[in-house]
């Protein structure tokens, strides 16, 4: 079944601004479901969804699972360990076997860039990319956009800087595309050894020093610094990273304005972000998590053929999803 989004959600780069707005707008009515005492609507009743996680993930997997369950889908979680993947089965064989069991959707997390697309081109089920290597993490990008939109309203002309390990970050790429498509100005900041070569050609500003980024930005999206980047020689030490690039209260107090703080999690407190910032008054980190469930509900609903104008109605009845 083809929805207004197409068969799959693999990345934000190929989406139009209208498609992104459609997902954000569809997420709005779904936010309320999670606030109810009975957090369940029948929009995806009878649909079978497999959460295929080849990489460890807690937050994203749970967020997807809540979204699926709150839409009444039947879900199965497959983790790479304990499955036939450990026995050397290829990705395409794993997928075809799942599909042979007549599933409707696959949510995939994989360490290889392009893995979600690879899967989508080979099976008929809808595929949602829950993070592929260093490529994209589109639902994370969307929930960041929703969180920023909650705060700023229209994002046109708003200045958002992505700080940290952009090189290895799928979150950064999805943010760059999503923000630019909604008209925001985008910058990146981090040690040059952790920025992709030629990143400026994607149409973003590049700040060498975090002080410059703070001077410029209205919102900072602070990326997680993977601890293994130090052993791989990209940076000398986590301690120095914190001193040079860490987002601290002192640095933010020198900013000409209040700066909204986002972080995709999980945080390394005291490395890329200090606790008093993460827990401070301008942090919307937990709002991001809440919005994550609504965004994933919207994506699943739309991919299943749900009509956006019926999203509000879908909350109350079984009539939302086309069957």
């Amino acid at each position: 079944m083809t929805s207004t989004l197409g068969k799959d959600l693999l990345a934000l780069e190929p989406l139009s601004p209208d498609q992104i707005r459609l997902i954000l707008d569809t997420a709005e009515p779904f936010k309320e479901i999670s606030e109810r005492s009975i957090k369940k609507v029948p929009a995806l009743r009878g649909k079978t969804i497999v959460n295929l996680f080849f990489e460890a993930s807690t937050r994203t997997r749970i967020s997807f699972e809540f979204a699926e369950k709150r839409l009444s889908a039947d879900t199965v979680n497959v983790a790479a360990s304990g499955s036939s993947v450990q026995k050397g089965e290829t990705l395409v064989d794993t997928a075809r076997n799942l599909e042979a069991m007549r599933i409707d959707m696959v949510v995939i997390r994989h360490s290889a860039s392009g893995a979600a697309r690879f899967l989508a081109e080979r099976i008929e089920s809808n595929v949602v990319n829950a993070g592929d290597g260093m490529h994209e993490h589109p639902t994370q990008g969307l929930l960041d956009l929703l969180t920023l939109r909650d705060h700023f309203g229209d994002l046109t002309g708003r200045r958002v800087c992505i700080v940290g390990d952009v090189l290895h970050s799928r979150v950064a790429r999805s943010n760059i595309w999503g923000l630019k498509k909604l008209g925001a100005e985008v910058a990146v900041c981090g040690p040059k050894s952790l920025l992709p070569w030629g990143i400026g050609e994607l149409g973003v500003q590049v700040f060498k020093r975090v002080e410059e980024a703070i001077e410029w930005a209205e919102a900072l999206n602070v990326l997680r610094l993977q601890l293994e980047r130090m052993t791989a020689g990209f940076i000398p030490s986590l301690r120095e990273y914190n001193r040079v690039f860490g987002i601290s209260k002192e640095r933010l107090e020198r900013a000409p304005r209040d700066i909204l703080i986002l972080h995709p999690g999980p945080m390394n407190r005291g490395v890329e972000i200090d606790s008093d910032v993460a827990d401070g008054p301008h942090s919307v980190i937990l709002n991001q998590v809440t919005n994550g469930v609504a965004i994933r509900m919207a994506v699943l609903y739309l991919l299943a053929g749900g009509r956006p104008e019926l999203a509000e109605a879908a909350k109350g009845s079984a009539g939302g999803g086309e069957r």
Binding site: S113, F118, G133, H135, E201, L202
Partner: protein, 429 residues
Amino acid sequence: MRNMLLLTGGTILDPSCGVNERGDLLIADGKVARAGGRISDVEDAEVIDCTGCYVSPGFIDVHCHLREPGREDVETIATGARAAAAGGFTAVCAMPNTEPVTDNQAAVGFIIRQAHRAGAAKVYPIGAISVGQKGESLAEFGEMVGAGAVAVSDDGRPVASAHLMRTALEYAQAFDIPVIDHCEEPTLAHGGSMNEGIVSARLGLRGIPSEAEEIMVIRDILLARRTGGHVHLAHMSTKGSVELIRWGKERGINVTAEVTPHHLTLTEEAVDGYDTHAKMNPPLRTAEGLAAVREARPHGTIDVVATDHAPHHYDAKEREFADAPFGIVGLETALALVVTELVGTGILDFPQLVDRMSTRPAKLFHLPGGTLAEGSVADVTVFDPTREWKVDPSAFLSMGRNTPYAGRTLTGRAMCTIVDGRVVYRLTQ
């Protein structure tokens, strides 16, 4: 009775003799007996009508991977040699990254024997530079050359040690063979699967910067200067490499270089969509690199076209991009790609094409062939420069199907391939 073959009605195109004119070619007992003019006084010769075709010295590919011994499920010397003949190649040089590595005289002799049995294109083994291609101690060049090797290389594995490369360039001079290097600075290229640039930034793939190639190019050129040895640089892909080679040649340093049909026709954009058939090493580069290797050819900075034919099993390419192996097949598409994309666009003319695919490879690697001068070995390619055909991998004679050109309509095709005066391939349809 003599064994004679008469090629009539074609255009003899032989840059080694400066010939490009209508004429017949008579082959007798495996040698070119007469070339040029109308030959009508010969009876009992088998006649091949070459009307509309060029009759040229046979193409020679100085860089291919035939996978035998070790990976006979992917390609064998016999299937590779037949694929070569179908592509118009009368001879190919097989790289030593087999399993086990071709690093001794027995291994070289095995390849010669298998090629002889196949009876298609000639196969000249290239021996390893280092034992096991481990980059440590020199392999026995002398014994390998004695058994039939025509060059040495650790292709597939860059020679990381400058000392080893220096020694190889010195030691090889006793046998008058080129030392071929796959230029890749391993710590810089580490973990990369495509060109480092805007496309790798978008796709989230680890990049291989052009400097990984160029650093080794200039290292090898400087070592050739120091030693006086002949260094041949495999599959050049960047603008910087071309500039460095030009620098070396202008100073009389003994450096030669090759470029592949894919680096002459594709850019990194082909990787978009994570197409593993666009994954090769060195990676496809930018439009600027493409323009540089194309421009380099008429001026002779890059000496020859070589395929880097690298067959892989279907399953190996049918997977995540970063995990797929590097390389594509090339023997059966090389001629048509050069005709379509270089001759068709006015960058090369046909005499230059034959020079880069036959005459110069023979000269650089001291191989028989590369000429139709009377008395020379009758290795001949008859190709139709205007014939259009659609690339259909399932019709390849190679066991490899891994090509990014599937479905493309190309111009130019080998019609008949003759090795030692014997027809080893003829296009049937």
